[in-house]
Amino acid sequence: MSFLDYDFMQRALIAAVLTGLAAPAVGTYLVQRRLALLGDGLGHVALTGVAIGLLTGWAPVWTSVAVAILGALAIDYVRAKGRASADVALAMLFYGGIAGGVLITGLAGSTAATLNTYLFGSITTVSQDDLWVVAVLAAVVIALAVGLAPQLFAVCQDEEFARVSGLPVRLYSMLIAVMAAVTVTVAMRTVGLLLVSALMVVPVATAQQLTRSFRTTFALAMVLGVVPSLGGVVFSYYVDVAPGASIVVGSLIGFVLAWPAGSLLRRRRARRSVNGEDPRVTGAHVPTERHPHQHDPECGHPTVEHGDHTDYLHDGHLHAAHDRHYDEH
């Protein structure tokens, strides 16, 4: 395979793997929280960061990560305030991000072609320095997404319940926003700022066609992120198109293929599991398993009034005398 002989392709492929893992990992939490479009907005905002880099001569990877994080914190703040106008405020932030990006790029004297490499990715532009930054950031994002999975799951599943559990919900909420912002920067060189959101959302959507647990959705989404990322970069080597486009089209093809399989799977599962209720809690007659002793007021098990008889609290179950055995009550 000749493309592996090129240094730029090696770097592009490494960046693709990191992006393909990090984007769906964060994306799973965004989708769970029903914030699928957050990545899109952050991509717009990060563009202003790139432009600032072009204007000042600082590395765009740093300026974009800084601006994207600021944008993420602003979005999270507006969301937490929960005002009715939050929707419009966010929209304006997104427009401002892309307009500011184009404006400042123009001031910096850069061309639309330069901007395009950030918007849709470019396999030839991943420098050695970029790769280091991308690798460290992606590793941190993936480590947090996996290591804090129980906490992030709880916050994204039910924010109010998480707060009553004593979790620092605002902190985790900001963390997710910042992780998304960092991922946007990680993905900037491969899939590009305008299409990064697709790599956060589409693999998750594909995975959940086939899964029923969060854990497998999370893992499968990461696999489904890496495959089109690598494929897209290789495709862009042979056919001169922006890698962002081929990566996203690739992952959408995955979704289209998974969809019929998913609906078949769901129908089969639905048929299999209609009546699996535990009769103990639905009132049917359930004798307890063999019982070592006769419950009486001296047996040491707490007693509970139940209508016109007494139940005994035994190992988390309530036992009621019935003929010569005990019923679970």
Binding site: V164, P302, L313
Partner: protein, 251 residues
């Protein structure tokens, strides 16, 4: 004397600058089952949401287990069941995964779940009768079963106080009964329950005291008339007629 688990004094709460609760007092002592009743908009939901710290108060004080809410940190002692129509999020999750989220108050960061954690989650699922569904996606369960998942999640931290916000709203009879049984088992071990109800249903015999709210004021605080029903409907052949040995023990 049994100690106060929930102690609310002179509570005033505004939502969007509109007063919702005007100087409400509410005490719930250890082992008690207290239900809040009232019409829509009477402030009963706001009251429990303030008690668990989700809504800020304008005036007055809330204490949980004797500690002012501001400095209360033992959140594992509180099992909260929010008012929800679904337990599902944007991504599939199994019953076990959702219930395990309720155990986080007892877990440390970056540590895997211990044996005791897994056992508590299993037990909570069993409590609401969903053991056979533990690995199913919550989105595929009925509304009543999803409500039971939320109750199991609250029970997973093995709390001393359960706070439930309309757990029976739109729930089928079978799940209501399952819920009543789960709650009975919970109360039987001497723990405390504060719940908001629209109508008493099969829970009536379980409730020690009713607090009725109207327009943000407490208008009744005391025992409620109990219909002659057992917990799960009219007496049937399961309800063995024996002497009431433990009368008054949990009353």
């Amino acid at each position: 004397m049994r100690s106060a688990v929930v102690d609310v004094r002179g509570l005033r709460v505004d939502l969007d600058d509109r007063p919702v609760l005007h100087g409400v007092d509410l005490q719930v002592v250890e082992g008690e089952v207290v239900t809040l009743l009232g019409a829509n908009g009477s402030g009963k939901s706001t009251l429990v949401r303030t008690v668990v710290g989700l809504v800020p108060s304008v005036a007055g004080e809330v204490r949980l287990f004797g500690t002012p809410l501001r400095s209360f940190h033992d959140w594992w002692r509180v099992g909260y069941v929010p008012q929800r129509t679904t337990a599902a999020g944007g991504v599939p999750a199994t019953v076990r995964e959702v219930v395990a989220a309720g155990r986080l108050a007892r877990r440390k960061l970056f540590r895997p779940a211990r044996k005791a954690d897994r056992a508590a989650v299993d037990h909570a699922i069993e409590l609401v009768g969903l053991s056979d569904q533990a690995n199913r996606s919550v989105a595929n369960l009925s509304g009543g079963q999803q409500q039971r998942v939320l109750i199991a999640r609250a029970a997973a931290s093995e709390p001393d106080l359960m706070v439930l916000d309309e757990p029976n709203a739109g729930v089928d009879k079978r799940s209501q009964e399952a819920f009543a049984r789960a709650l009975r088992t919970f109360v039987a071990s001497g723990r405390t329950v504060l719940l908001v109800l629209h109508e008493m249903g099969p829970l009536a015999p379980l409730v020690d005291r009713g607090v009725v709210l109207d327009g943000g004021h407490v208008v009744h605080d005391g025992p409620l008339p109990t219909p002659s029903m057992t917990l799960t409907g009219p007496p049937d052949h399961h309800d063995d007629h024996r002497e009431d040995y433990g009368a008054g023990l949990f009353g």
